[in-house]
């Protein structure tokens, strides 16, 4: 599972404001900037936290996708 990037500081990105603990949408920043922010402690990787942007890719517009678990599909999704 790809790690989720979480803000450790309040950050403004364009017209969006991100607060402590919020997720950085995948693919918004170039990889080099992400690395710099990770090094400077502005961002942190959380591999155990799922990215909501990837889980709901059709609604978030994210290009990366993450599958829901079988249990979640059985419990919440529309059966065939």
């Amino acid at each position: 599972m790809r790690p989720t990037l979480i803000f450790l500081h309040h950050t403004d990105l364009g017209d969006r404001k991100f607060r402590f603990g919020e997720e950085l949408p995948p693919g918004v920043l170039p990889a080099t900037v992400v690395d710099q922010w990770l090094d400077s402690g502005r961002l942190k990787e959380y591999p155990e936290r799922r990215s909501l942007y990837r889980v709901f890719a059709p609604f978030s517009g994210c290009k990366e996708r993450e599958q829901l678990t079988e249990d979640e599909l059985t419990s919440y999704s529309l059966p065939k």
Binding site: G21, R49, P58, Y76, L78, P79
Partner: protein, 450 residues
């Protein structure tokens, strides 16, 4: 040579005693039998039969002894009598199959762009809810979509329990308090309301996030399955939380639709089944009465509704407490709830008698003591749920049959129909239901889906 006198004297010791030996050959000897072989076989068979009979008798004695140790023979439990059935045509089973098949084939028309736009708006709301959960740092969360992670977060602040009084030694010895011990556990999202006593705001926030997440998963599955029409067996008498999620996505339907709502079908069916003459008291009035308010809040009305529904399906004590808590996400006092149930029993005596009568068939003899019986809660629930479900399914099928081909989804208390509604449709459905359930009262309304 001196003459020896013959007297009574004994033979002198020096004289050697003469022992006369005779062969043992008595004059009367035992007769020698010469049995024919057939007779010998007969004797052997008789001997074998006697041994087998003795062995069988010993085994029976042993079994009787063991039975005696285990107590008296158990009396098998009597089955409850068959319940009253609605007046249905003979070929109703075939009709029901055809109705469901037609509903499945018709499918629900979804407007893909509307669904996408609604999904985007709801995804933004989900992010906002995620933010509000994390902003209050009384409980620190990691992955909010995973129950084990959320449970661990609540456990870290000792909030993963309902904090009900533990079972006393006396209760454990007598087998009492088992329901309370079970009710104390938090095992799933559904049980998280029990932690609200310790951490009310985090529980509220987590529930808001989880509901939005589950609804969005449903919406995404609608989008992925949609090619203009969505077909699913959920639309043929589906039940549970998914029906609620589907209801939330109705604004994304394509074309005009309307809903036919059957008000409190559970009460109508049970009142008909038990011949209960008292009409239904609306949950608003029950809530006003129980909470002592002129205008009870929506949460109080929800509690009243949940207690009424739970009581109608025969739940009681901690089982009812659990179900009411899950439905209303509120923790209510167990003793108050018991008092309200007694009020309901007094208000609807025929339904109360029905439950008492049915439950009396589910006492099973246990153990070696004569007359010691235990209530089989699982069997009772299984039986009652099955029978009530059957009747509610008939209600839904009859309503679907009445709307003549416009029904695209049917659930236990509402139908989704496509097209524009006809004015007399609700009355027609009501007439059909009251004809099948003779003497019953159903309240059917119609509303346009926005």
């Amino acid at each position: 040579m001196p003459k020896i006198e013959k007297t009574n004297q004994l033979t002198p010791m020096y004289e050697e005693q003469k022992i006369t030996e005779h062969e043992h050959s008595p004059f009367l000897r035992p007769p020698i039998h010469f049995d024919p072989p057939a007779r010998r076989e007969q004797d052997a068979a008789a001997h074998k039969a006697a041994v087998a009979a003795a062995s069988s008798e010993a085994a029976e004695r042993e079994m009787a002894y063991l039975r005696g140790l285990s107590g008296p023979a158990r009396v098998p439990r009597a089955e409850p009598p068959p319940l009253r059935g609605p007046a249905l045509p003979e070929d109703f089973a075939e009709q029901a199959g055809a109705i469901d098949e037609a509903i499945y084939d018709r499918g629900v028309a979804i407007h893909r762009d509307q669904l996408l736009s609604l999904g985007r708006a709801r995804f933004a709301e989900l992010l906002e809810k995620d933010r509000s959960v994390r902003s209050l740092q009384r409980v620190l969360f990691n992955d909010l979509t995973s129950w084990p992670d959320v449970a661990a977060s609540f456990a870290s602040v000792s909030a993963l329990s309902a904090h009900l009084p533990p079972r006393k030694m006396k209760e454990q010895m007598s087998g009492a308090g088992e329901g309370r011990e079970k009710a104390n556990k938090i095992e799933d999202w559904q049980d998280l309301w029990k932690a609200a006593q310790q951490e009310p705001e985090p529980v509220r926030n987590v529930y808001a996030f989880h509901d939005a997440f589950a609804s969005l998963v449903f919406g995404q599955s609608l989008l992925l399955q949609s090619d203009g029409k969505v077909r699913s067996h959920l639309f043929c008498s589906g039940k549970g939380a998914k029906v609620g999620y589907f209801n939330e996505w109705l604004p994304s339907l394509s074309g005009p639709h309307f809903r036919i709502v059957i008000g409190q079908p559970l009460f109508s069916v049970l009142a008909w089944l038990c011949k209960e003459p008292t009409p239904l008291t609306p949950p608003v009035d029950l809530a006003a009465d129980w909470f002592g308010k002129r205008a009870p809040s929506p949460s109080q009305i929800k509690v009243a509704e949940a207690i009424l529904e739970g009581w109608l399906v025969g739940l009681s004590s901690w089982n009812l407490w659990n179900v009411v808590g899950r439905a209303s996400r509120q923790r209510i006092d167990h003793d108050w709830m018991q008092g309200w149930c007694r009020e309901l029993a007094a208000r609807y005596p025929a339904i109360s008698r029905f439950h008492d009568g049915i439950s009396s068939y589910f006492w099973t003899q246990v153990g070696s003591l004569d007359g010691y019986t235990k209530f089989d809660e699982n069997d009772y629930r299984h039986y009652l749920d099955r029978e009530i479900e059957k009747l509610l399914s008939v209600v839904s099928l009859l309503a679907a049959r009445s709307v003549e081909g416009s029904c695209v989804a049917r659930f236990s208390d509402w139908l989704l129909c496509q097209g524009k509604p006809k004015d007399s449709l609700a009355e027609k459905v009501q007439e059909q239901l009251e004809a099948a359930f003779t003497g019953s009262t159903f309240r059917v309304t119609m509303e346009v889906v926005p």
